[in-house]
Subunit: 342 residues, 2 copies
């Protein structure tokens, strides 16, 4: 009798069904290579013992895992959560399993996790943004692991990605702001040094500024951490500038929502006293009052496509090609034309 505190093995099943382990393995992996009779005998042994294949052993023997790894900066951010959820649904439909790790925006952690996911046998990898040590790209390359970057798109980068161009997207939003006559502009942002998406968005703002002959220096910038609360504080800060900004651009909707709240608390009317715009178009953007003008990003679509690209590569060797997704401006009530300050 076996120690029943421990998982039953292929051997246990084989013994109970009176066949070899090879046959059991075939029953599980290639059912039609086995007689109906044997198969049902084996399957009932499997049920009886509550057998589940040991993943590590299987991975080692088969050299594939049907597992895809993803590393996101944080779970605690709706944009990633939503994209990854779609990614996972698509994988699941094809019998793949998703392994997620979150890096808290720390490069060192991310590198550890990339190695850990590969060590765990991930057949492919999904990463957010381009920015990382070239050595780690070489490492991935040397292991021959198909890898896709997402949430960003930049044709000058070597690494294949499915995403959108953060710089251009933000630039077009900033242009719209300019078009409405605003010239006194504030930017609430988060640290761009470990976040290339944010860095690109800031560039986009700068470019739009230069196009109308404004110097970057004229921009009132406030850098803070991610969060509604910090967005609110940031808003209070930038509104102290003199002359007061007529529009506040936030690098994401979460900050913008905080700004909207603070404006209300300060008794400012949006967009009459000040306009506020965000980025991402999360569900929240339509809940604020007034609704938020922002850049719509197809998070779920991105996740779905990324999954397809990776699976197609794994299953049929389809090369992974870059895909740029289009984003579009969602002009809502939080952005209005410039008016002379009273």
């Amino acid at each position: 009798m076996k120690d029943n505190r421990t998982a039953p093995t292929l051997q246990d099943v084989a013994d109970l069904a009176n066949v070899s382990t090879a046959t059991v393995s075939r029953c599980l992996n290639f059912p039609d290579q086995v007689t109906d009779k044997t198969r049902s005998r084996v399957m009932s042994a499997v049920d009886r013992l509550g057998y589940t294949p040991n993943f590590g052993a299987r991975a080692m023997a088969a050299q594939r895992t049907r597992t895809i790894g993803a590393i996101i900066p944080t779970m605690d951010n709706a944009v990633f959560a939503r994209g990854i959820q779609a990614f996972q649904e698509e994988l699941d439909a094809d019998g793949y399993t998703l392994l997620i790790a979150s890096s808290s925006y720390r490069q060192d952690l991310e590198e550890r996790q990339i190695k850990s996911l590969i060590a765990r046998g991930a057949d492919a990898l999904l990463l957010i943004g381009y920015e990382r040590d070239p050595a780690i790209y070489r490492f991935i390359e040397s292991r021959n692991i198909p890898t896709l970057v997402t949430w960003a798109f930049d044709r000058t980068q070597a690494q294949a990605s499915i995403g959108f161009d953060n710089r251009l997207a933000m630039r077009s939003l900033a242009r719209e702001v300019m078009r409405l006559g605003h010239r006194r502009i504030a930017l609430i942002t988060i640290d761009g040094s470990t976040n290339d998406r944010v860095a690109r968005r800031m560039q986009g703002v700068h470019e739009a500024l230069r196009e109308v002959g404004l110097h970057e220096k004229s921009l009132v910038v406030h850098q803070t951490r991610y969060g509604i609360e910090t967005g609110a504080e940031g808003f209070a800060q930038v509104m102290q500038a003199n002359p007061r900004p007529t529009v506040v651009i936030c690098v994401n909707d979460v900050l913008a929502v905080g700004a909207v709240r603070k404006a209300r608390e300060m008794g400012l009317s949006i967009p009459d006293d000040v306009s506020i715009v965000g980025f991402d178009d999360i569900e929240l953007a339509q809940v604020t009052h007034p609704e938020l003008t922002t850049v719509h990003v197809p998070h779920r679509e991105m996740g779905r496509r990324a999954a397809r690209a990776l699976i197609d590569n794994l299953e049929h060797g389809v090369p992974i090609t870059a895909q740029e997704l289009s984003v579009d401006l969602r002009i809502r009530q939080s952005l209005g034309p410039w008016r002379m300050q009273p």
Copy 2:
């Protein structure tokens, strides 16, 4: 020369460093059992080859993985995202890795994932809510995997949990609603059949109702899916009841936020025309206008404690004991006293 398309193995490192695989293994796992000289030789071989231990092989040989599995209903929900993020941070600090799967609220999927996580060598498991097939609890038990339920607490259940009592929490909110004189009440909820937390919250409302002598039937109930948008639709629905509800209780904040938005669209003033309350106290709750009265749940604290309990059990055999966390009412402006309908 090795095929460099494939990961280097312990053997490769051993060869390069001129030692046995046993020594390399010890260098990695018990560095002080090895001479400085050998160690540095081995380590430089490791670096040179970019060696990373194969997880499956290691798990198989060592019978432990320092990995903990968690299954949540969906990533795309701030409350789980936040709790799990804290859980993961705590695990990480102790050198554990988190494996996450999401079940889309489907029991069958969850069962598959429990098995998959165990097969992957998870040393322990974190699950949301109690409700699942007893067979699956037996399965976990038979594998001797420490398991913790969270997001719920019920002393009548056998399974250890760290969470709060959804029924009592919602009841106290409903009592407050009654105390303010409301008697014409609507409830916007989601399917409770696969979600014991929601089912308990509904019970809580029913109990409070009975306490003031109202019959459950007098409650205007609308069941929908999770989401801001669906919450908005639900609100429109329940407000058609005659007589019109004076308060709308939502089983979570997301629905409530949708309700608030719809009320605004309908030109109703909150709380003068109708009160709205939610549950969870997500960040959103303070962004709506007016701010949402809700039940505050310590999501991050819950995640942290769950991690500690599991690690302490794994490392020092500390038994996993149930812990009830306290929640508290956050009374804000969206709830006002009952007034005669105009």
